[in-house]
Symmetry: C3
Subunit: 348 residues, 3 copies
């Protein structure tokens, strides 16, 4: 699909400077783009590229005054980064429109209820009593267990697996390989040293607007629901254990893990590879630095922690610096002991 | 399915107090349950809920004396938690009974041998010379490579992949997205800086009663077998490298990783996100705290370690506390140096 | 398939000592092998097994002088380990030869272009405009999105998912459950605390000779390409974020994660469970110890780091040892303070 500068300016309420008829068919970075591509300049640090870029169209902040000659057609907007994002969204929307209908072979239970304009990819499995909302796309090789309910405008990418009884909201995106609703890790130790499985009878509820990354796993509750609240964003390869609750607009980076029954508040930010032990309360707005190990509830909203075990960010950083000086400390303590011993010998 | 208090008491050898005809159709937590649900009270800490719960039936420990009026019908048992677990198991068993037969389309090699009452889901792939035991369930989109042997009463959940030549025991559960038998990570460095793959010719042997979590990966041995011994329980997103051995009833929490050729003994407990380097011996009953990095063999049975690198749990905790005081230590050392210098100046 | 000692010696240019007609049909470890198996002895530490092994054929280094009687037929080579690896490669090559053709049912878009002698497994999905090179094997349940281009002699194992627009080179191996080209984790914070998705419009480019482990995830670039350069080797459950670049012959161990836009140079070695923050430069030949957290660019080639946060390997190890002595330091500081206070009291 080709778009002219005029068409693009119309989509994002921008003003064209230069040739309004020049057309593009894809996107590039300002420093790498080729003719026929559209790029943007948001960070003034990269302004030099503006005068050398080969891109045909550049989105640019309104206020930026040019210091030289620009070959590309400019489209001025209040915020070039947001305008670019909006443009990409609209482009993706157009691309997605055509993805509808049911590919064969797929397996759709006779009791499943599919909304209008859904897409069901080849080799997808739709269990008994499943409900799928309008415009939702289920990619090839996805598994939707019995009784699962998925809202409108959601996207389940190739090979994701949703166990029976889980509930997925509207405008949810679940990436490839994601597993939703696997059994929680619950085993009762027996006197002979073996373990007896505790049946995991709950489900997972994923609310509206959530995005879940590739190969992330979210276990079903033992009883009740593991809960991912509206607007939360989870990256790849994350582990969410049974009965966990992730609050609204909480963001979790890749490879982090949250143990059973822990509740994360709203707008929490969890760094990559963080581990959080079970049965904790993490206050709204908490920030947990990458690789931290959180062993106690965080009760003060908007506080930041780091380290394993994690504690107050500023103190922990000071300790981390001090650790590097430790071998030096040891020498200084030895020196003090030596001098003091001499002094004491003299004074005795 | 509805069950009366009398029927349930019969299943778990309990004694009914209250209306024996009241019926339930599902399970809930004592504090959240609605009428028509069954809940349990095991921890006396939560006894207050007993007098306010809306659940229709409560499983309760024999010895607990009531302090108030209870609306629900009670079923008395020696251990309410175990009785609840037993009840859930029986319920799941009934639910599972109906899952049998072969869904179409599936791919079953003509040389595969399927036991009685097996379930093969749609889009499952069963390779050449595969053997599958009686009552085993292979969910949709599972891949069973050539020559794989699976025992009786096992469950392979959607999309799990078992490479050729692996051996899976009886009553094994393998969750969705799990990969068993992928190539070990073995490459011989070449003089030009490149790497030459060492073919991985062994397999993975998973013994009876093992449970393996979602998206966990277990690599095949270079030669011989990577071995998961009977009764071991592995959580989600775990990495088990080639030629590792996991002992009987050893429990590994999510996102832990065990490097090549390491042998874990029996009844070892490995915390979440633990890393264990290769070629170690971990003694029976060792406990490795979450996020630890184990760099040396643990030779004393039943010992506990923490930290990265990991060492004795109690000492490591003491050091972790001391680290927090480090910036203070630095000030105290400076103060000592200053005072001592003054003293020395006076004494010289 | 059975091979005689003479046939095997011919394949690897070895010299036979003992019965040239003895035959083997599989491989074993020298200490575990049974009659009919071939094993090797490379490490002189294990020489004792040579005199007790039940293997029928042993590959042995030229220079090793026998200290006792050996039952097995020996094949002498300059380097027994490399010869064994070469032999396994040749064996695997023979086994693979027969894997060709298209299994049904599979879904192959009419616009897809398949090379000669390709294998497409059952339930594989091949999207529009996909190109697959000669001799490439696409295992069952693999998903190849629209416009993906895969070179010759590559192997995509069961259930791997490659999103639209990605480019895979020649002789690439992608293991089961791997996800290539999922959306990068990019969300713009909004003033109401919610997040707006930044469309991820780039792709992933995997160059020739790369191997990628099971359930590893590699996100597509926001714009441009996430790049895995020729000869790189990635283990299982690794996270590679958007716009990352992994250099030639760089090796990454299991469960490591690399955050957005970080560039790893050539011949870097990244240990298991390492985390690397975004927008860093990691110099050629850097070695990053397992579980390290890299927070700053590594600018000196061939340097080694460890710890979280990571710094110079030798210094960090010294600090780690000192941390264990910290409780002792505290006592020594207290003792110094006490003695000094006494001295000062005496001198005042």
């Amino acid at each position: 699909m080709q778009f002219s500068a005029t068409q693009i300016a119309g989509l994002i309420n921008g003003k064209v400077e230069g040739d309004p008829e020049v057309a593009v068919d894809s996107f590039g970075k300002i420093e790498e783009a080729r003719p026929g591509q559209l790029a943007f300049l948001a960070n003034p640090k990269y302004e030099d590229h503006l005068y050398t870029t080969r891109a045909s169209i550049i989105l640019l902040n309104d206020h930026l005054a040019l210091k030289g000659k620009v070959q590309a057609t400019l489209i001025r907007v209040p915020d070039a980064y947001l305008a670019f994002a909006a443009l990409l969204s609209k482009y993706q929307e157009m691309v997605k429109q055509h993805l509808t209908g049911i590919q064969e072979p797929s397996y759709i239970s006779t009791t499943a209820m599919l909304g209008e304009h859904v897409f069901i990819g080849a080799f997808a499995y739709i269990g008994e009593d499943v409900k799928i909302g309008n415009h939702t796309k289920v990619y090839p090789q996805v598994y939707i267990g019995d009784g699962v309910n998925i809202g409108e405008d959601s996207v389940i990418l190739p090979g994701a697996k949703i166990y029976s009884g889980c509930v997925i909201g509207k405008q949810v995106t679940i990436h490839a390989g994601c597993v939703i609703g696997s059994d929680g890790f619950g085993f009762a130790p027996q006197t002979d040293g073996s373990f007896k499985k505790i049946p995991q009878m709950g489900n997972v509820v994923v609310e509206d607007g959530v995005e879940i990354g590739a190969n992330t796993t979210i276990d079903r509750a033992t009883i009740g629901s593991t809960l991912i609240r509206a607007g939360a964003k989870l990256d790849n390869l994350i582990q969410i254990a049974h009965n966990v609750e992730v609050g609204n607009h909480t963001v979790i980076a890749a490879q982090a893990g949250v143990s059973g029954s822990t509740k994360l508040g709203k707008n929490v930010m969890v760094g990559g590879q963080v581990g959080i032990v079970g049965h904790l309360q993490i206050a709204d707005g908490s920030r947990i630095n990458a690789q931290s190990g959180v062993t106690k509830s965080l009760k003060t909203p908007n506080s930041a922690v780091t380290g394993s075990p994690a504690y107050d960010y500023t103190s922990a950083l000071r300790s981390q610096v001090a650790v590097r000086h430790l071998p030096d400390f040891e020498k200084r303590i030895q020196e003090l002991e030596r001098k003091l011993a001499q002094l004491l010998a003299v004074n005795s």
